[in-house]
């Protein structure tokens, strides 16, 4: 379990001619689309289902199963929404795919849309991603000119349109129903579920929403078969996966590896170890900032897959791995995580609107010398008042990491309280 024998999603990302369709075609782009259009759509869904592919956006829900939720007989148009709103702190894999292989992304979107007989593909990309947006926009124009998008795609009788939609700065729009509200021109407020998107999605029509990386792997599953995919990684956690490695590392970046690769292999072998080898590893946030923090001891033998991390009370999430060395003050790190959630809560549900701000202010107070031990109890109590009590899981995503910091680094919080301030003065280690 570990490194891949060949690059899969990243096999063509080193080329600098990504907006040259001819060069992409020479490398094999859209060949699998041609093959897929000759297959029965249901057979495509079945193959993806058999592969056990789990969504790469954060939840790890089985993709093929999600696709079967789409109604077969309906008079309404069906939609595929591509979630390209990559905003989870520590995550930057979809950006790389869209910038460095936009035609692979599009091919995956098109095959998946055909499998569900969707007539429109909406790509919702975060507003800040101007460069990836331009790359996709150009790729769409080229694909349209070649007949991969439009009426009767490659003579298959299937019509599809692609609409590239730019967000405008709101983390919550990565939540699937908030994204749909935003796509409909509204504030990005998550919807109550049920109804789920497959029955009531964009404009009330049947909609499936998937992450960019999830859809980009689909052409490989169609080309090589579900068994190839199942042969990589481990049971129920199959396939190659992109890991976003950041923080105190010698070589941060996006790395592709088998699901289940040990965290320390990623850190030491792929990323070249710690930025400053004299400093020991202190903690890792393994799956974007919504995941519970892991101590160095917990990281020692930690396979990076959905089920292992969930069993350990954290999550693989979007595989945004943030690595911290021993110079980091964990109270300040927690404050930094919570500042994000206080800023990004959409404000729709009271426990989250009030709670996210409240827990941020408590941790900030502790960090800056005004905290008491009662604050820590209040923090845990506010967190418990947030989890599971709101329309979407944002509140959980703020509260669970907060609780993990306090539980696992309680002594640091207590030191701040007794010393009336931060022993390290909150100086982060990475300044250049």
């Amino acid at each position: 379990m570990g490194a891949l024998t060949e690059k899969v999603l990243l096999r063509h990302t080193s080329h600098d001619d990504q907006t040259d369709l001819d060069a992409a075609l020479e490398r094999g782009a859209y060949q699998v689309l041609g093959k897929a259009l000759k297959m029965q759509p249901d057979a495509l869904v079945e193959e993806v289902k058999k592969s056990g592919l789990r969504g790469r956006g954060g939840a790890g829900f089985p993709t093929g199963l999600k696709w079967t939720f789409m109604p077969k007989e309906t008079s309404k148009p069906k939609y595929l929404v591509v979630n390209a709103d990559e905003s989870e702190p520590g995550t930057f894999k979809d950006r790389l795919l869209m910038e460095r292989d936009p035609h692979l992304c599009l091919e995956g979107f098109l095959i998946s849309a055909f499998a569900m007989k969707a007539s429109v593909i909406f790509i919702y990309i975060r507003g800040e991603f101007v460069h990836p947006w331009r790359m996709l926009d150009e790729a769409i124009t080229q694909a349209r000119a070649k007949g991969y998008i439009g009426k009767n795609v490659l003579g298959s009788g299937w019509d599809v349109d692609v609409i590239l939609h730019r967000g405008a700065g709101a983390y919550i729009c990565g939540e699937e129903t908030a994204l749909m509200e935003s796509l409909e021109g509204k504030r990005g407020y998550p919807r109550l579920k049920p109804p789920f998107p497959a029955s009531y999605g964009v404009y009330g029509n049947p909609t499936t929403i998937n992450n960019v990386e999830t859809l980009a792997i689909v052409p490989f599953i169609v080309e090589r078969g579900a068994d190839w995919f199942l042969g990589i990684g481990k049971e129920k956690n199959a396939g190659p996966k992109l890991f976003c490695m950041s923080g105190h590392l010698k070589r941060p970046g996006v790395y592709e590896a088998e699901l289940g690769i040990p965290l320390m292999t990623l850190i030491n072998d792929q990323c070249g170890g710690m930025l400053n080898p004299a400093r020991k590893l202190k903690a890792v946030i393994p799956g974007g900032s919504s995941a519970a923090v892991m101590t160095a001891a917990e990281c020692a033998d930690l396979p990076m897959d959905f089920d292992t991390l969930a069993a350990k009370g954290s999550m693989l999430g979007s595989a945004g791995v943030m690595v911290m060395d021993e110079s980091v003050c964990m109270v300040r790190a927690c404050e930094r995580v919570l500042k994000f959630y206080a800023h990004e809560s959409c404000g729709q549900c009271t426990p989250c609107r009030i709670g996210a701000d409240w827990i941020y202010r408590i941790v900030s107070r502790v960090e800056h010398g005004g905290g008491t031990t009662a604050d820590l109890d209040t923090l845990v109590s506010v967190c418990d008042g947030m989890v599971g009590k709101t329309i979407c899981v944002f509140a959980d995503a703020a509260a669970l990491p907060a609780k993990s910091f306090v539980a696992k680094f309680r002594n640091e919080f207590l030191d701040h309280i007794s010393m009336k301030g931060c022993p390290t003065k909150g100086i982060p280690a990475g300044a250049r």
Binding site: T91, H165, A168, G185, P252, A333, A342, P428
Partner: protein, 175 residues
């Protein structure tokens, strides 16, 4: 982020400004084109606001009213949308908006120091604009560039793996 702002609610009151004029015919035509691209016209609201901001530098009250009329919603509805999204400016900003990411990965790699350096070299605090109207300095949450931290966004472009010398050179080149 300056120490004074630590611990305070990050939300700020929204103030909407007027531009003193409406959008040009050319922009209004492009808004019509955007509306035509979608199955339902309200979906063109975000694209329309982008077009307005591109022309005027911010989403003015006049532009909001014109867009409301075209999309078929109330001006209050448009204002509610504008204020929800951080990238829409509700009042004039500097010619260049420097958005420094300060979320976890960038913080680990020195974004606080970067912000401090920019505050002292520009002579302004976060949220302010230089007196000559050249640069607005802001801090933002994760921009998805964590492997090349610290970083900032200026206009459409990401500037990554920043050092003090590198950001100084970039800003020196901006008039």
């Amino acid at each position: 982020m300056s120490a004074a702002a630590e611990g305070q609610a990050p939300h700020v009151g929204i103030r909407f400004a007027k531009a003193g004029r409406g959008l040009t015919e050319a922009t209004l035509r492009r808004i019509d084109e955007a509306i035509a691209r979608y199955p339902e016209k309200r979906s063109a609201l975000l694209p329309a606001l982008w077009l307005a901001q591109q022309e005027q530098g911010f989403c003015s009250l006049e532009a909001q009213e014109q867009i409301a009329e075209k999309i078929g919603v109330s001006p209050a509805f448009v204002a509610g949308v504008v204020s929800f999204y951080t990238m829409y400016h509700t009042q004039p900003v500097g010619r260049h908006v420097v958005d420094v990411c300060t979320t976890v990965s960038c913080w680990l790699r020195g974004s606080d120091e970067l912000v401090g350096h920019l505050e002292s070299s520009l002579g302004i605090k976060v949220g302010q604009t230089t007196p000559d109207g050249r640069i607005t300095l802001r801090t933002v949450e994760c921009l998805g560039s964590c492997g090349t931290a610290p970083m900032c966004q200026i206009g459409d472009d990401y500037h990554e793996d920043l050092t003090f010398a590198k950001i100084d050179k970039i800003l020196d080149g901006m008039t």
